[in-house]
Symmetry: C2
Subunit: 427 residues, 2 copies
């Protein structure tokens, strides 16, 4: 069943960062990128991360009703709040593979557990690639075993980010530092998504590492909060993967002084919380910037909605609309399509109080076109790589109080490149 693939030669996204971020080594985190030869030829496709014994873990997963075997396993293993190893393979998503898939995921966890001397329950797995093909764990386990001999390249974050790519056109990473009590801590993260070639499913994987000591329960809250305003606000095509996984590991090297951390609102957590929000948004923008066939990145700000969740739904309705996406690709400030998308979101919106800005110029106000607005700066804005759309949906309570729900969404446009990538014959 398994088809060998040479590395795809898609052109690098025009929105790729100029260079790979500089990520410092992290105490308690050892990375090892390997080539298992399972599917791709001539590149690393397997990542093993060894984690200190003190490591706490948190995670968020796809809400798909068809989760992969790797997602099933990691979701279960997350319950303990501890982790000693993370294994990521690229090329086969181990999704829709039935009992054989569950066994393959467990075999991977057992193999890694033996290497790092821990319980299989302390191992998390993420798999990305083709759906519905059986995953043979043997070459992955052999690669991990063989690489024991060589020196672990502890800080090669770029090699790690490359090893988890499927058809991404650039490796994605971000880093931040923050005060943590008396300490300076570091947050490093890598992610993959969402280029695609024929049979592979675009999936989003993101892994955040820090040397701070944060208990798993709090770590989960931190991650969920940051994720809700970053990766969960990205859309390329509205197609939710079976394998989306975001995990955060706190190796515990740096402890905060004073009483144990208990609440998200503990002031000592504030710098970490802010740095994590920034880091995750950085990753989110990188993922959207590598959307299949992207020519322009949309940033969509929604305000005046009933709730933040309603604002997010409205923003996603705009960012997912094929008509809005093609208009942006065509450099057409077609705000009529934005109105349509807001209307179809199903969320409360006041047609006759709605306003829309494109590139900072108000083009619609109080439910109709702004008569005679200057189209030149708008047309110039549409010709750039970054398109900013801001809508105020004007919801008011019965007492005329203005609603304050807001959200920011990042989305790619829809181009011939998307069709080329996804309508290829499966070879």
């Amino acid at each position: 069943m398994t088809t060998k693939k040479t590395v795809a030669s898609l052109p690098v996204s025009p929105l790729a960062p100029k260079k790979f971020a500089k990520l410092a080594p992290l105490a308690g985190v050892e990375l090892q990128a390997m080539a298992s030869g399972s599917r791709y030829v001539g590149r690393d496709d397997l990542l093993l991360v060894r984690l200190a014994e003190t490591t706490q873990v948190a995670g968020v997963f796809t809400r798909s009703k068809m989760p992969s075997a790797a997602v099933d396993l990691s979701r279960a293993h997350l319950a303990g709040g501890k982790a000693r190893a993370l294994v990521v393979n690229a090329g086969n998503a181990n999704a829709f593979t039935g009992k054989a898939g569950a066994k393959a995921a467990l075999d991977m966890a057992k193999g890694a557990a033996k290497l790092v001397d821990c319980q299989p329950e302390d191992v998390l797995i993420a798999s990305t690639g083709v759906i519905g093909e059986d995953l043979d764990p043997a070459p992955l386990l052999a690669a991990m075993q063989d690489s024991q001999a060589g020196p672990a390249k502890r800080s090669d974050w770029q090699a790690a980010a490359r090893a988890i790519m499927t058809t991404d056109t650039f490796a994605k990473a971000a880093t931040r530092t923050a005060k943590f009590g008396k300490h300076q801590i570091t947050l490093n993260a890598i992610a993959k998504g969402s280029g695609m070639i024929a049979p592979d499913m675009a999936t989003l994987l993101a892994f955040v590492f820090t040397d701070a000591h944060v208990p798993a329960r709090l770590l989960q809250k931190l991650l969920s909060e940051a994720n809700g305003q970053s990766l969960n606000c990205v859309t390329v095509d509205g197609d939710t993967s079976t394998s989306d996984t975001c995990l955060m590991f706190a190796s515990g090297d740096k402890k905060c002084d004073g009483a144990p951390l208990r609440s998200l609102d503990d002031k000592r957590l504030a710098p970490l919380r802010a740095a994590l929000a920034e880091l995750m948004q950085d990753l989110a923008v990188q993922v959207a910037s590598d959307g299949e066939g992207i020519s322009k990145l949309m940033t969509i700000e929604v305000m005046g909605a009933e709730t933040d969740a309603a604002a997010r739904n409205i923003g996603l309705a705009i960012g997912n609309s094929p008509l809005v996406k093609t208009a942006v690709a065509g450099e057409d400030a077609n705000w009529g399509r934005i109105v349509m998308a807001i209307g179809k979101s199903g969320e409360a919106a006041e047609r006759d109080r709605l306003s829309i800005d494109i590139g900072g110029v108000q083009v619609a106000r109080k439910g109709r076109a702004v008569a005679g607005y200057d189209e030149r700066p708008v047309a110039k804005h549409m010709r750039g790589r970054h398109v900013h759309i801001r809508v105020n949906v004007g919801v008011q309570s019965k007492t005329k109080k203005k609603a304050t729900g807001k959200a920011r969404i990042w989305a790619s446009d829809l181009t011939h490149g998307y069709i080329d990538i996804n309508a290829d014959y499966r070879s």
Copy 2:
């Protein structure tokens, strides 16, 4: 603001019917197609339908939160259950036009009411075309006034279907007959949707006419039922318009004998009910067959879902998925993407009992690929114009009873043609 447009010369959809259906004249229904010269040059763009005094009316409209002024007006006028006239203009949707738009719609209703000698409340309006441009009712009213002199072409259904097109590549109509007590009745329908050129919003308009006498309350139930299994099961790009309108008029020429009709389950209604379901599905297939840039029509059958509504959501998730649509365009039986779409629908589905047929061949069963299925008939099926996808999502109750929710969805694929049509610069 108004830009004159010559008629678009998009190639006719490869899925267009061979010829326009033969629609017989209907007692109590007079059609008049006219050219107002408002936006399009050299074609009719205005339709006036005069209806007998006995006419009962029912309607369903877009669920958009940004409805057009025409939708607002027709929704209000529908309340009475009676209608004497229908006015449809193509080229300007009169949507997102504020108070001026509401006044323009009312002026159209008043003008038509004067011509047919009725109350403005007995006139329904539908408008389709560009969003956010003020609609000037004057040329429309003038055209209606002028055409008074000429003979009403009572049975020119093709002229009527053509007059309401925007960028459709073919005129859409369907007809059925049915027994109605001792009578033979006729159902005629015309529809438009969903080609598109730059600034116009794809909208769906459908009008059904019958010479039967059916009270408005029952007519509404009949229409809602048929619509739920036809037009509401069509998707081109998942973008709900601000103007979608489907109206049904019963002119009342043919009365059913016996007691008044009261219930949808009255046996005397059964032939009409069946004919209406067929007629509406015929229209639905025609609309999907003219989806922007279409190369293949998907028919998606879903069964084993929790409810019919859940089945419909799953079918729409498949039919709207850009990844499924591009795979179909690329003639790739990529059922992994179908699994993904089912998973993202949010509806209950049993991964490990899921089965998928493509072109009648089972490719996945019990949550995994069918080992060694014959790919040749599937590949051949994918090369055709009609792609049939059937999924059984295998939901069971706690008592192991199999769920029976089912739905059928029609969807176009996603091709370079779609991008060409929608990413054009707005001229």
